[in-house]
């Protein structure tokens, strides 16, 4: 939040690394399966053996174009690969194949809501590159697993357009939703298939020149992105106020301590000595190709949220939460379609289903209850066969066991009693047992009516239809 920054404002730009959903790597036929054993997915090309040559994966180009279109980018009909030179054993070639000048996608934008305000952030570029291997450090040595070396990434670079941690987090959520909707990336932050690096700087309000930027890495949840940026803004403002200089560096976020700390002092772009990779020919994209991919585009998150508000009667906030994860939005639409009650579906999913998956750290795909089961329960509520209170107990059992609402009702004997004959009998018993209250009621003390309702609900273990109880009680007290 941009609370009191003592005359300073924050400027935030974000690089999102999106792992493209392919079976094989960007430049060779090694598998991209993340569950493989150590160094199972390697070959002379991913190890950078002398004489090995890269060959571009066509699926990578298709997915990059699709993502670029989803980000409202211009797609370059001719783009190139470049070598980014640095020495680190996670890339045995001594360079990473990336794109520098002329990336495949550029000049796009995304729009989203942050704190109820509409926000537009520019996308400077989105370029293709290969991922590096994973190193594990020990005091005496370092161990390397190259399964990830050569996995295709699309790096999406925003303009320095964000001003608060909240906006930054919403931006990252928007990017994830877009790539998930387009099925170009599974968008899993914990497993690293979507990684957000945040560039943060501060400057005096109104100062045209940007401050020195610090890059924050190791942010594997949207909550951490927000907390890390908040911490970093505060650290930099403190630094400025006490007259110290900010140094350009890369910092890591430590979620346990909620602070950032120095990882390394950043090398400048010219230190990477980029040059065009002579092993690879230009990527040529035809207009027909772009048109063909355009036709395969599915509905994107923003238009979907708009439809939820306009056609299904949800609020903007409800729609925004539902669309932020494609699987959740799909679950909602299916429930809504089957139960024929959008508002009730949204209420139960936002409160109960999301509450459950958050408490249990699950994804919606992992729960035992299907959209169809939930819809069946909602129909029972709609038809007043079960009360809201009992529905909640049934729901808890359903989501825990995967059984249907009907199975649980049969097993536990839940059922809303709305059978007139049965209820009349219960009411008669209640009235007979509370003669003094009945007398009070007839003497004009209408407040005791609530007492009767309570007694009937108790006698039926909460299973009576409250509307029906009210109606019958009024009638029977009159007679």
């Amino acid at each position: 939040m941009s609370t009191n920054l003592q005359g300073y404002e924050a400027v935030i730009g974000i690089e999102v690394h999106v792992q493209l959903k392919t079976l094989s790597k960007i430049f060779c036929s090694d598998s991209t399966d993340s569950t493989a054993g150590d160094n199972e997915n390697i070959s002379p090309i991913s190890l950078g053996m002398p004489g090995s040559l890269p060959t571009l994966n066509s699926k990578v180009v298709d997915l990059a174009i699709k993502a670029g279109l989803g980000l409202n980018c211009q797609i370059r009909t001719k783009s190139f690969f470049a070598r980014k030179n640095y020495f680190y054993p996670d890339l045995p070639k001594g360079y990473q194949i990336s794109q520098y000048e002329d990336p495949i996608c550029e000049k796009g934008f995304v729009e989203f809501f942050a704190d109820g305000m509409e926000k537009k952030v520019s996308i400077e570029r989105a370029h293709l590159e290969e991922d590096a291997g994973k190193s594990t450090h020990y005091p005496e040595h370092t161990l390397l697993n190259y399964n990830r070396a050569g996995v295709p990434l699309l790096e999406i670079v925003s303009g320095p357009d964000m001003r608060s941690a909240r906006e930054a987090a919403e931006y990252c959520k928007t990017i994830r939703a877009i790539v998930q909707y387009l099925d170009v990336c599974d968008g899993n932050l914990e497993e690293g298939s979507l990684r957000c690096d945040c560039n943060v700087s501060v400057k005096k309000i109104g100062e045209p020149k940007l401050g020195v930027k610090v890059e924050i890495k190791n942010l594997n949840s949207f909550r951490f992105i927000e907390k890390a940026i908040d911490f970093e803004i505060e650290r930099q403002v403190d630094q400025c106020l006490s007259g110290q200089k900010i140094i350009q560096e890369t910092r890591l976020y430590d979620p346990d301590k909620n602070r950032t700390f120095t990882m390394r002092v950043k090398e400048d772009a010219e230190d990477y000595r980029y040059f065009i990779d002579p092993d690879l020919l230009p990527i040529i994209v035809s207009d027909e190709k772009i048109q063909m991919i355009k036709k395969t585009m599915t509905e994107l998150p923003r238009p979907r949220a708009h439809r939820f508000v306009q056609q299904m009667g949800l609020t903007q906030d409800e729609a925004d939460i539902l669309i932020s994860d494609k699987a959740i939005a799909d679950f909602f639409e299916r429930t809504s379609e089957l139960s024929k009650n959008s508002k009730l579906s949204a209420n139960w999913i936002l409160r109960d289903v999301l509450g459950y998956i958050n408490d249990h750290h699950l994804r919606i795909e992992q729960i035992k209850m299907s959209a169809q089961s939930l819809a069946e329960l909602l129909i029972l509520i709609d038809q007043k066969i079960v009360s809201g209170k009992i529905a909640k107990s049934i729901f808890n059992d359903m989501i825990a066991t995967g059984e249907s609402a009907q199975q649980i009702i049969d097993k536990k004997g839940y059922k809303q009693v709305s059978d007139t004959g049965e209820l009349e009998k219960v009411i008669q018993d209640v009235l007979a047992a509370s003669a003094s209250q009945v007398a009070e009621y007839h003497a004009g003390k209408e407040k005791v009516f609530g007492f009767f309702v309570g007694a009937v609900m108790k006698a039926t273990k909460g299973q009576a239809d409250p509307d029906k109880v009210n109606e019958l009680l009024k009638k029977m007290l009159k007679s």
């Binding site: 036929s29 160094n39 994966n57 699926k59 054993p89 370092t142 390397l144 230009p282």
Partner: protein
């Protein structure tokens, strides 16, 4: 060449290339590197505005591979090419 080549630039390049150079070596190489680069300085006089950089001499379209997984060589064989390993992981000197 926008930069004039001096001792500091030699040191910076050596650092990026992970090479150790002594002051004597810098004194030895500096005039040589300056001389080589001066051969190219004539190019700076040419007006290259509005000329697209030549990236490939022939306008070829890159060959694209289908997204198919193929295991071309066993992990064991590749591990054998490394000087040291732990299990199926490559072992290198400490890097931090």
């Amino acid at each position: 060449m926008a930069h004039e080549i001096n001792e500091n630039i030699i040191k910076q390049i050596a650092h990026l290339a992970k090479l150790t150079v002594t002051d004597e070596e810098i004194a030895y190489y500096l005039p040589q590197i300056q001389k080589v680069l001066s051969h190219f300085s004539e190019l700076n006089d040419l007006d290259t505005n509005n000329i697209e950089p030549l990236i490939t001499p022939v306008d070829l379209k890159g060959y694209l591979r289908s997204d198919i997984v193929e295991k071309v060589i066993s992990t064991d064989e590749l591990l054998q090419t490394a000087p040291d390993k732990v299990g199926a992981l490559f072992k290198v000197p400490p890097v931090i």
